[in-house]
């Protein structure tokens, strides 16, 4: 029997296939289409301290083999989230990982604190990539190793749960940020988040998103995500959750071989809501066909 188990921080996942935040709700929305217990983990939609309405419409635009989104972190705020969404987590055995976003560094600490005793929350994914209003000139935390380190430490201090820090590929040198997060106590890194992009409607000469700029995701960014994973795999010791354009088994395998210990499917869920479970099966078949026992043998097996 092939062993698909992987360890991410304190979590022992039954397989390496997770969902990417913001593309799977809490899983409750898709219960009828797939068995959540077949997944390695469910990473839920990003939550912030206060409720957020999100951005005006249009919030998405299709691009060649990709899409831009500027949802704007629409969510009910952490308190309502804990009350309304978290009880659902108890209905499944799969670990639920909550994705947290802050507009100020200290908010991350508060979010971790509030989630610490919530039953069913297995871990935190720390999204440092949301555009920050109080931060200088449209910069985001993810581009500043100091900010990433401080945020990671704050979260680490307030939780015993597994802490995954999610990095942006929109950076001169992702290795520096990855090291900052590792040194500050992250259990794992997830990469990549979306890359900011623009699309123009040539008829109206308006941006195709109300927010002008949005985040690019989907197969278009896969080579960039893979390169980031490979660079970071050669830099840090903690496990990596690879994502960016994973739609099928081949894509997932590429990420594992490039250095990811687990993978997450994002935009792929929109195209095929059952893609995650298909990928679990596909990886199993690949291991068998290649005479490999453990999925962890694939991680970083790139022949260079």
């Amino acid at each position: 029997m092939e062993n698909l188990k992987v360890k991410i921080g304190k979590l022992l996942l039954k397989n390496p296939v997770m969902t990417a935040s913001g593309t799977f709700g809490t899983g409750e929305e898709l219960e009828d289409l797939l068995d959540l217990n077949k997944l390695g983990a469910v990473v839920v939609k990003g939550v912030t301290l206060l409720a957020r309405e999100g951005n005006p419409l249009p919030r998405i635009a299709e691009t060649p083999s990709g899409m831009l989104n500027a949802i704007g972190l629409q969510n009910p705020g952490i308190d309502a989230f804990i009350k309304e969404k978290c009880p659902f987590f108890l209905r499944y055995k799969v670990p639920f990982i909550v994705n947290i976003s802050g507009y100020q560094e200290k908010e991350y600490g508060l979010l971790a604190e509030k989630l610490e005793d919530v039953p069913g929350v297995a871990g935190l994914e720390v999204n440092v990539s949301c555009p920050n209003v109080n931060y200088s000139h449209g910069r985001i935390f993810a581009k500043d190793p100091g900010a990433v380190a401080r945020i990671t430490r704050l979260v680490r201090k307030n939780t015993k749960k597994t802490v995954i820090v999610k990095l942006s590929p929109e950076i001169s040198d992702i290795k520096i940020i990855a090291r900052a997060a590792e040194d500050a106590g992250a259990d794992a890194l997830s990469l990549v988040n979306t890359i900011s992009g623009l699309a123009v409607d040539t008829v109206t000469r308006k941006p195709r998103l109300a927010n002008i700029i949005g985040g690019l995701s989907g197969p278009a960014i896969k080579p960039i995500g893979l390169r980031c994973v490979w660079q970071v795999y050669n830099t840090v010791k903690i496990p990596i959750v690879g994502m960016g354009g994973i739609c099928g088994t081949e894509d997932a395998l590429e990420y594992l071989i490039a250095g990811a210990s687990a993978v997450a499917v994002g935009t792929g869920n929109f195209i095929d809501p059952q893609s995650t479970v298909r990928i679990v099966d596909g990886i199993k078949k690949y291991l068998k066909a290649n005479g490999l026992k453990n999925v962890s043998d694939l991680t970083g097996s790139l022949q260079v």
């Binding site: 289409l33 939609k45 083999s65 869920n269 929109f270 195209i271």
Partner: protein, 255 residues
């Protein structure tokens, strides 16, 4: 119960004006589908376009589903090229359909452009239930009018190339004044501006009204939050799962 299935195309043909009509064999979806619900269709196997395309269910039979569509861009062009016997990946039925539980005797259907599509499935169900049906169809010009199989049809075109010249909502206003004796319900589908005008008229005559909204959709399954609309109570609803059909009175119109 939503099902994602590879459905065989029974036909895919040009019908009147600018519309095409595709029938697919998808009994498992058809079994659960209701008028007003929609499908999310993969238009290409190459991964481009990336996202599926939402299409209303136009007609329903035990094993078959039909859509009525207009070629607008890449996705619908690719749909138009598919031939009988080919297969397409279809997810459905999606969203909440029209609600016909309330007691009423007359249904006023108002369709703008391809908004007429889901009203046909509703029409067929209402006919079985022996409701009186008035169908108001509006569009820019006669090429965008599709009225096959509807009962009690009145047409309005903006350029006057067919039926009354002007907006379909003006016709609705007149129909409502006169037809107000019987308990009636308005069911409308079309562009936002039309739906807003319909909602206003319905409010004026105090006739219950359901509108089917359209929105750019990333997932069609409620997870991406790209399709939200504002409700009067200040909350946001997702058109793909909380709609596409809403009570007209609930919607906070943009203007």
């Amino acid at each position: 119960m939503r099902i994602d299935t590879n459905a065989r195309i029974i036909y895919n043909k040009q019908v009147s004006g600018e519309y095409r009509n595709m029938k697919i064999y998808a009994p498992r979806i058809a079994r659960h589908a209701r008028p007003g619900q929609f499908l999310n269709i993969q238009t290409s196997k190459t991964g481009r376009p990336l996202l599926r395309r939402p299409m209303s269910i136009h007609k329903l039979s035990p094993a078959g589903l039909e859509i009525l569509y207009k070629v607008r861009g890449t996705g619908t062009s690719l749909l138009a090229q598919l031939k009988k016997g080919m297969e397409i990946q279809v997810l459905g039925p999606l969203g909440k359909g029209f609600d016909i539980k309330a007691p009423f005797t007359t249904a006023i259907l108002v369709g703008g452009g391809y908004g007429i599509s889901p009203l046909k499935a509703l029409h067929d169900l209402l006919k079985k239930k022996r409701k009186k049906i008035i169908t108001l169809i509006g569009a820019k010009n006669s090429k965008l009018i599709y009225k096959k199989g509807f009962t009690g049809v009145k047409v309005a075109t903006e350029d006057g190339s067919s039926g009354t010249k002007g907006l379909v909502t003006r016709v609705l206003d007149r129909v409502c004044c006169s037809g107000a004796k019987h308990p009636a319900v308005i069911f409308a589908c079309g562009p936002d501006r039309m739906l807003e005008a319909v909602a206003k008229i319905a409010g004026k005559y105090n006739i219950p009204c359901q509108v089917s909204l359209e929105a750019l959709m990333g997932c069609g399954t409620g997870v991406c939050l790209s399709c939200v609309c504002k409700k009067k109570d200040g909350r946001q609803a997702r058109v793909c799962v909380d709609g596409p059909v809403f009570k007209a009175g609930e919607i906070e119109w943009k203007t």
